[in-house]
Structure formats: structure tokens, C-alpha cells
């Protein structure tokens, strides 16, 4: 903490004594807003649930047991793996993954386009990308629902130009949820990729073409590997919040598209809730995300040491 500052040599005690107090706000923010809530969740996940919400301070593994194990409808059968929640987990990963891919396929060309504009117009393009995000996420998600519902402008115009006879049932589908997630998190994909492409040295593409690489080979062998850090950052920034998102699945999806975020959300709402279970699901989700990120960081570090 008390690193070698300018005070170190002169032994200025007043200044050295200030370091800790000055760091206090930072520690307070990290502690109160990050460490404390996570600890609270961890503790709650091991407590007993109280009906009508809340907890009883009795240590138990019941919440984790409920997540992973079933003993039949009446609890009298031998213990088996409970697939319901693992299924929701899996579906969430799948949905978030597809939304991330969608963001990548739209976001990469967008970022590329912006980064290759003349320097003075790039700011304008970036600004345009962020405009929809001035509107509250809830409102945006609801308006997307209005856009794609059976009597919404999308279906009506498709019918008007004769492309379809009956409205496409878009709401309450996986596609709708992915669209919602895509719409919610696109800038998180565009911005890091933009930053990477802007730094990209286009002479590298010329060098690749000079050495007999086709356009596709140049993209695959040179451009993508060089801007990869931006792509990975974008994917993490979209995938992680998508995994825990509940607005888009709630509003645009139906029972079949139920995702983790909604599952957790439900546990803390109304009298049907189960706080320890909600906390346990959140902990499991967090553990999974952290594990993936740590494994990735390790792999990166190994690659960079070469």
C-alpha cells in the first residue's frame, strides 16, 4: 500500500500518513458496492428460506441441493440429478452465446466501418451508435416488442409488400430474446472492436496481399488475430450480462425461453420467492463466469509468454 512515494526518501510522515485516508473512498466503494453484496449473497445461499421472502439464520445446503438434486415430487424417491435448473442454465448459455454471435456479426462490420471513416467523422458515428442507449433499457425492450409483435410495423409492412401472408409469430420465441439481448448490448461489442480496429495498421493488410493472401485469407490470418483482444473484450462484455439478463427474456420470451436472470429475479419477488435459492443460483452463475474468464486469462498469458 505505502509504496515508494516522493515522501519515502525524506521520511515525510505527514504525507505517508495521508495515503491510507486518501485511499479510503476507493476502498469504501469497492467494499460496499462489490465485496459486501457478494459476501452477503454467499452467506444467504447457505441459509434457510422463510416463506413470504427473507431468511432464517440456520445453516443448510438446501438451496444447492434444490438446484442439483431431486428426490421426486414428494421427496421420497432416491436422489437423482435435477435437470430442470441445469437445463435453464444451459439454455441461458446458449441464448447468451447466440446473442453474442449476433452482436459480433453485426458489431464487427459496424466497428470496422466507423474505424475506417476519416478521423473527424468517427466521433459522429460513435455518437449515433450510442443514441438509443439514452433511453431506459425497459422502454427499449418494450418498444422492440411492439415492433415485432403480430400487428406491429415489422409484420404489417412485410405483409403490405406481399412477402408474407400471415404475420410471423416473433414474440415469445428464442429469436425475439436474442434480438432483445442483441439490441441491449450491441455497443458493448462495437466499442472495444472499434478501439482495436482504429489501432490496426493497415499496412499489415497490404503486406498480406503482397504475400499472395486473398481478401478472405488476409481477414483470417492477419486482421482477426491482430484485433482479437478487442473481439474478446466485446464478447465478454456482451456474453456476461446476457447470461444474467432478465428484461429481454421476460418481456420478449415466454415460458419456453425462461433464462437464469428471470429465475433469480423470481426468487426475490413476492411471496413465491426463495432468497437462499436465488442467492445460490447467483453464486453458481458467478462461479461459472469467473472460471471461464480466469481460464481465458491464463491461456492468454501463456500465449503472450511465447
Amino acid at each position: 500500500m505505502a509504496g515508494p512515494g516522493p515522501s519515502g526518501a525524506s521520511g515525510d510522515a505527514t504525507y505517508a500518513g495521508l495515503v491510507r485516508p486518501l485511499l479510503l473512498p476507493t476502498w469504501a466503494v469497492v467494499g460496499i458496492l462489490m465485496v459486501l453484496p457478494v459476501c452477503l449473497m454467499a452467506v444467504y445461499s447457505f441459509l434457510t428460506k422463510e416463506f413470504r421472502g427473507g431468511v432464517i439464520w440456520d445453516f443448510t445446503l438446501a438451496a444447492y441441493d434444490q438446484f442439483f438434486i431431486t428426490r421426486g415430487l414428494f421427496g421420497d424417491e432416491p436422489a437423482r440429478i435435477e435437470w430442470t435448473y441445469i437445463g435453464i442454465f444451459w439454455r441461458s448459455i446458449w441464448q447468451a452465446g447466440l446473442a453474442t454471435l449476433l452482436c459480433l456479426f453485426i458489431g464487427f462490420p459496424t466497428a470496422w466501418f466507423i474505424a475506417t471513416r476519416p478521423a473527424r467523422s468517427r466521433g459522429v458515428w460513435l455518437f449515433l451508435i450510442t443514441i438509443p442507449y439514452w433511453v431506459n433499457l425497459l422502454i427499449r425492450t418494450v418498444s422492440l416488442k411492439f415492433l415485432i409483435r403480430e400487428t406491429g410495423p415489422l409484420n404489417e409492412s412485410l405483409m403490405a409488400i406481399g412477402l408474407i401472408d400471415t404475420p410471423l409469430p416473433l414474440v415469445n420465441t428464442n429469436l425475439a430474446v436474442q434480438l432483445g439481448l442483441f439490441y441491449s448490448y450491441l455497443p458493448f461489442m462495437v466499442l472495444p472492436i472499434y478501439a482495436a480496429v482504429e489501432r490496426y495498421n493497415f499496412a499489415l493488410s497490404e503486406a498480406a496481399a503482397d504475400l499472395y493472401a486473398s481478401r478472405l485469407a488476409t481477414l483470417r490470418e492477419v486482421v482477426l488475430p491482430v484485433v482479437k483482444p478487442g473481439i474478446v473484450a466485446g464478447c465478454i462484455l456482451v456474453f456476461v450480462p446476457s447470461l444474467g439478463a432478465f428484461l429481454a427474456p421476460d418481456l420478449l420470451g415466454g415460458a419456453k425461453t425462461f433464462m437464469l436472470g428471470s429465475l433469480i429475479d423470481e426468487q426475490f419477488k413476492g411471496s413465491q420467492g426463495n432468497w437462499p435459492f436465488g442467492a445460490a443460483v447467483a453464486m453458481i452463475l458467478m462461479t461459472l463466469v469467473m472460471t471461464v474468464l480466469i481460464l481465458y486469462a491464463r491461456a492468454q498469458a501463456r500465449g503472450a509468454r511465447r
Binding site: E206, Y212, S214, E221, R306
Partner: protein
């Protein structure tokens, strides 16, 4: 024999800027050809047109007789050593060198072998598994060279590849490059703004200025027989005197020097009138048998040489070189001296 590269009345315009005006060049196979000129004269532009990164506004570029206007860069048998190397930062040195072969579909074992031999050639075998950012500028430059040579192009383009190196390394690389060109038999088109580099390595040199080729010839041609003021001034040192031409005939002119003395000299023009005369400082001697009379301003000691700065009768500054030999006693400042123009010292220019 068809030329390796034939540039015919090539014009390059960027909007209202004309970077190249009707350039005509013919570069033979196996030649070490240099484009020499000051910054901004269009050397890189010309090279990029041959490589295929810029299209030609007007005119033609032919490669071994074939018009390549419609050929994508990746289909041209031409490789480039870029001005700033442009090594792939995510690949090791050997992967960089093998890249062209990989793109040509050469199998992994063969390309590893070839890339290894290329690295040997540029003395970088020990660095094969390093990343480019772990190399010095000179080492990166050699990797760029090996990378461009590995696919055995018919023509190698080099854009000021030595400019980032220190003097010693630059001199060593000049020798190596020349040797390499002779060993491989590949046509080299070398860009530089360093005249010494151009004079020491090239079979032929094109001197460029402001988007125009001013003169093409061997090092000796352009040094001994410059056609205009730009070339005479850019290559080596020279004295330029404006003189009246009394008579021109068959490449020889009779001109009137300031002070009235008449000399005959080779001429780059057939037009009478007023022209510039280029006089090389090392071909002038102090002598009683004077073509010109002058007053000594000062004497600069240059080690092997002495540079004597003088003023002609009209006040025109003039300089000459003397070998710093033991028997030579330099003139004193203020002294009046006679200047004798040796055989071939003077040449009448076209402008």
C-alpha cells in the same frame, strides 16, 4: 528481351494532386534498379503502382510484357519490403517469413525449410521463434527482407529499407543486398533518397523530382553527365554557373565563362542561348593557366580533402576540392587565385 517492368506514360493523380506525371521507365530482368529522389517526389507511389496497391490513373504498367492493371496485388509475382516493415505482430519471425509460401499453398515442411534457409541468409536463425517486437530495427528490417524473398518473386520492391538503420549497419546491408541480388537474380527496384546508397548499389538509377523522372542512367552517367540542374545538384556537389552559349554542335558546346574566357564542353542541349553550366568541385585545380579568376573566402578542412570556398569576379560563390596531400599548401583567405577546369569538369545543362 522483354523488360521485367515496363512503365508507359503512367500518371497518378490523387484528386487535384498529381503525384506522377507521365512516367516512362523500362527495367530489365536481373537489374538492380534504383528510384532516387527527395522526399515527396513520388517514389513510394510508383512502387505501390507496381505492387498493385494504387491504380494507375493513366498509362500502363507491364510486368514481363503483360499489362497488370487488372491484377490484384496478391496475384502479382512481386513482393515488397515495406518502408516501415509491416511485420505481422502476432506471428513469430519464422512464421512471418513462411507466410507468403503458406498463402501460395506450399506444404508445412517445405515452407519451414525454406523460411529457415532465408533466415540463415539474413543471419537471423537464432531469432526464428522470437516475436517481431522483440527484435531491433535492423533485425526487423532483415526479417522483412527474408519474408519478401522467401516466395521467390520475379521482382522485389524495396522502399527505403535501410533508412532506419545506423550508418555502420547501413553500409554492411548495402553490400549484402547487392550480393543477394546477384545471387538470386531477382530484379530489385530499390527506393532511396540517399544518393550514396543509390550510387554504390545500382546497375541503373532513375532520378526523380516532383513526380517526374529527370534522368535514367548508370551511376557514372548521372554523376558525370547530368542533364539538368536538378540532377547535377542532387547527385554529389556541383557549382552551377549561368553562361552564354556561343555555339553547340554534335553534343559539344562552346560557352563564354564569366571573365570572358571560352571553353568547349559536353552539352546536354542543342539550343543556343543562356544555360547553366555544371562544374564539379573535384575537377578544378588552382593554376596560373586560369579559366576563371576568384578570391578565396575560406578553406574548410574535411580530412581526406580540403574544400576551398571562393568568389568569382561577379561575386558568385564557387567551391573546389583539393586532396589533402603533404605537398599541397592551401591558399590563404583573401588571396586572388586562378581556377583551371580540367578535362570533363564542366558540362552544359539543358536548363
Amino acid at each position: 528481351m522483354t523488360a521485367a517492368v515496363d512503365i508507359h506514360e503512367a500518371v497518378k493523380r490523387y484528386g487535384s494532386v498529381t503525384a506522377l506525371h507521365r512516367v516512362d521507365l523500362s527495367i530489365s530482368d536481373n537489374e538492380f534498379f534504383t528510384l532516387l529522389g527527395p522526399s515527396g517526389c513520388g517514389k513510394t507511389t510508383l512502387l505501390r503502382m507496381i505492387a498493385g496497391f494504387e491504380d494507375v490513373t493513366e498509362g500502363e504498367v507491364r510486368l514481363f510484357g503483360e499489362n497488370i492493371a487488372r491484377l490484384e496485388p496478391n496475384r502479382r509475382p512481386v513482393n515488397t519490403v515495406f518502408q516501415h516493415y509491416a511485420l505481422f505482430p502476432h506471428m513469430t519471425v519464422i512464421e512471418n517469413v513462411a507466410f507468403g509460401l503458406k498463402m501460395k499453398g506450399v506444404d508445412a515442411a517445405t515452407r519451414r525449410g525454406r523460411a529457415g534457409r532465408m533466415l540463415d541468409m539474413v543471419h537471423l536463425s537464432a531469432f526464428a521463434d522470437r516475436m517481431p517486437d522483440q527484435l531491433s530495427g535492423g533485425q526487423q528490417q532483415r526479417v522483412a527482407l527474408a519474408r519478401a524473398l522467401a516466395p521467390e518473386p520475379k521482382v522485389l520492391l524495396l522502399d527505403e529499407p535501410l533508412s532506419a538503420l545506423d550508418l555502420k549497419l547501413r553500409q554492411a546491408m548495402r553490400v549484402e543486398l547487392k550480393q543477394l541480388q546477384q545471387d538470386t537474380g531477382i530484379t530489385f527496384i530499390f527506393v532511396t533518397h540517399d544518393q550514396e546508397e543509390a550510387l554504390t548499389m545500382s546497375d541503373r538509377i532513375a532520378v526523380m523530382s516532383e513526380g517526374r523522372v529527370q534522368q535514367v542512367g548508370t551511376a557514372r552517367d548521372i554523376y558525370e553527365a547530368p542533364v539538368n540542374r536538378f540532377v547535377a545538384d542532387f547527385i554529389g556537389e556541383t557549382n552551377l554557373l549561368e553562361v552564354d552559349v556561343a555555339r553547340v554542335e554534335g553534343g559539344t558546346a562552346e560557352v563564354v565563362l564569366p571573365g570572358g574566357h571560352r571553353i568547349t564542353c559536353p552539352s546536354a542541349t542543342t539550343a543556343p542561348g543562356r544555360h547553366h553550366l555544371s562544374i564539379r568541385p573535384e575537377r578544378i585545380s588552382l593554376s596560373a593557366e586560369a579559366d576563371l579568376t576568384a578570391t578565396v573566402d575560406r578553406v574548410v578542412y574535411l580530412g581526406t580533402d580540403l574544400q576551398v570556398m571562393v568568389r568569382l569576379e561577379g561575386g558568385t560563390p564557387f567551391s573546389l576540392r583539393m586532396q589533402n596531400a603533404a605537398r599541397v599548401s592551401p591558399p590563404e583567405p583573401g588571396a586572388t587565385v586562378g581556377l583551371h577546369l580540367e578535362e570533363g569538369a564542366a558540362r552544359l545543362l539543358a536548363d
